[in-house]
């Protein structure tokens, strides 16, 4: 199935959720008129990433985000039908999570119920070096695939993708598309592409190539307290090739034509995921043992 992905390299207004929701709605309208099937936005795009204790003041419930996006979209573009994947600080009960949601927005249609379709809570909030997430958010506990109109998908938030086991779980559940909202502080300026961008390229290339799936990484934009999110969002195809790369330091909607059928071709050519499915039960015992289990 062929469809169009839009990645929005977005520079949020720090801690101004209303302004950022309005900006997302503008993006959804821009994408919808170009027949975009899915619009992806970065991690923490409704607030900015580095908030410390401020997460408590900007966190929203997932249903509230979806309702506000839906009402804004319907008001501006009544005929729009578009899916969205978006990172935000989520409030649920007494806990705050660094989450990403997937929702179907716009007009209702048969077989396409409007509303929240999936919620992923970041499993690996980093707390080293420039990061201090673990102090302010609760860890998610699971990777779950879900169905979309164009295939099986999974969401990994930023560092989740660096732990290969997350991508493996998604692939074993049948993911054909892995969506990664990210916020990667730029560093290492020794080469033409920043070191963090080169490292992300390797992560996505391996993730896509090993599991034969599409990988779309959408990065935040702008300086926050001297730390730069430089954009350069990417899409890697199921053969591990980078097919799209957004601009540096520019807000942009990056469009990529995707054919989900490529996953079938890639997995036939290099059936690593099939081999893993055959062997995983044996390896699971070793994994459990290595992790200190019985």
């Amino acid at each position: 199935m062929r469809w169009t992905l839009a990645q929005f390299q977005m520079q949020p207004v720090k801690a101004h959720v209303d302004a950022n929701i309005a900006r997302v709605v503008d993006g959804l309208c821009t994408a919808a008129v170009r027949d975009v099937a899915l619009a992806c936005f970065p991690e923490a795009c409704l607030s900015g990433y580095f908030l410390q204790g401020g997460v408590e003041e900007v966190a929203l419930q997932a249903d509230e985000v979806v309702q506000r996006l839906q009402s804004g979209l319907v008001a501006q573009c009544p005929d729009a039908m578009i899916d969205v994947c978006l990172g935000f600080y989520e409030r649920d009960g007494g806990a705050i999570y660094n989450s990403a949601l997937y929702a179907r927005l716009g007009r209702d249609a048969p077989g396409r119920p409007v509303g929240l379709a999936h919620l992923h809570r970041k499993i690996f909030p980093p707390s080293y070096g420039v990061f201090d997430e673990d102090r302010f958010v609760t860890r998610g506990r699971s990777v779950e695939c879900f169905d979309t109109a164009f295939g099986r998908a999974a969401i990994l938030v930023c560092e989740d993708a660096w732990h290969s086991i997350c991508g493996t779980i998604a692939a074993l559940q049948g993911a054909e598309v892995i969506l990664i909202p990210s916020a990667s502080p730029g560093r290492d300026l020794r080469e033409e592409r920043p070191g963090n961008v080169r490292a992300w390229d390797n992560v996505c290339m391996m993730l896509a190539g090993e599991h034969g799936c599409w990988v779309a990484c959408t990065d935040l934009l702008g300086f926050e307290g001297g730390k730069a999110f430089c954009g350069i969002s990417t899409v890697h195809n199921p053969f591990g090739q980078r097919v799209s790369s957004g601009p540096m330091f520019e807000e942009a909607m990056v469009l990529t034509e995707i054919d989900t059928h490529d996953t079938t071709v890639a997995r036939r050519r290099t059936p690593l995921i099939g081999g893993l499915q055959e062997t995983i039960s044996v390896l699971l015992a070793q994994l459990s043992s290595a992790a200190g289990g019985d």
């Binding site: 900015g48 300026l189 033409e192 702008g222 300086f223 307290g225 330091f249």
Partner: protein, 288 residues
């Protein structure tokens, strides 16, 4: 049959000067975006003020500012004291002229001497230098207030790590594009930006005593200090750096300076008496 082909691998990683080489085009883009984002987008200012000493750090900062903003929005201040050299003033004027930025001369001699005259004791060079640095800070912040501008800092990472600056003096401006660049990296960037060679090539000096240089004061050249700093900050112990070929006395010089100046890189210490202490429990980022 013997193995004729023998390939030697690189071996253990050793911190070296090549690690500090920059893609200066990328760094320029990075720092221009930094200035526009942090000065204008986050803080709402369109004008900046810079203390222009005629040295390489302030010349690079002024050049970046002139490219990030309109040159007429950049105000450079030459703030000579009686020990300042004419050469420094000339170099500052040269940079300002080439960039087309505003250049104001604001002597601090009377203010510094008046302050010191209130205390009959003899002022050491060190003390006088601190007063000069803090007087320049006052001038920059006052002029920034008058102009509706933001002061830019010019301190580099080598100075900051070795504590070679005056606390709440030259480190005071809220925005500093060079603070994560070692001195040798500032030199690379200066050449890329086209800062006049006469400024890039001359010995770095705080210009407090005639003939004084930074490297004399520090007891080590920036070229050698920067590699050692890079190694220490990357997680190597002094012993590991020595075992990898660095001079033990130089490693010790740098280590001692870093360890003695952690306090200078921090905000003032406040006694904590509650569970809502600012910066301990109550945590909000600078741009929140």
């Amino acid at each position: 049959m013997a193995w004729d082909k023998i390939v030697h691998s690189v071996g253990p990683v050793t911190p070296c000067a090549e690690d500090l080489l920059l893609d200066c085009r990328l760094v320029e883009t990075w720092l221009l975006q930094f200035l526009r984002d942090e000065v204008t987008r986050r803080r709402g200012f369109s004008r900046v003020v810079v203390g222009l000493s005629g040295g390489v750090d302030s010349s690079v900062t002024a050049t970046l500012a002139a490219r990030a903003f309109a040159p007429e929005s950049v105000y450079a201040y030459r703030m000579p004291y009686k020990t300042s050299s004419q050469e420094s003033l000339d170099h500052a004027a040269l940079v300002a002229s080439e960039l087309g930025i505003n250049c104001v001369t604001f002597p601090i001699g009377d203010a510094v001497d008046a302050l010191l005259a209130q205390d009959p004791g003899e002022a050491s060079g060190h003390r006088r230098g601190n007063v000069c640095a803090r007087m320049r800070m006052i001038v920059l912040f006052d002029q920034a207030f008058k102009l509706g501008a933001l002061p830019l800092g010019t301190g580099n990472k080598s100075e900051r790590m070795m504590g070679y600056y005056t606390w709440h003096g030259d480190d005071a401006p809220p925005i500093n594009p060079l603070g994560d660049l070692y001195k040798t990296q500032v030199w690379q960037l200066a050449r890329h930006l086209g800062v006049p060679d006469v400024i890039v090539s001359k010995p770095a000096t705080a210009d407090l005593v005639r003939g004084q240089t930074d490297e004399d004061d520090l007891g080590i050249t920036y070229v050698r200090a920067d590699v050692i700093l890079h190694g220490l900050l990357s997680g190597y112990t002094p012993e590991q750096l020595v075992s990898r070929g660095h001079d033990p006395a130089e490693v010790e010089t740098v280590r001692r300076r870093v360890d003695a100046t952690h306090w200078k890189r921090q905000l003032p210490t406040a006694a904590m008496v509650s569970d809502t202490a600012i910066g301990e429990y109550y945590l909000r980022p600078v741009d929140y």
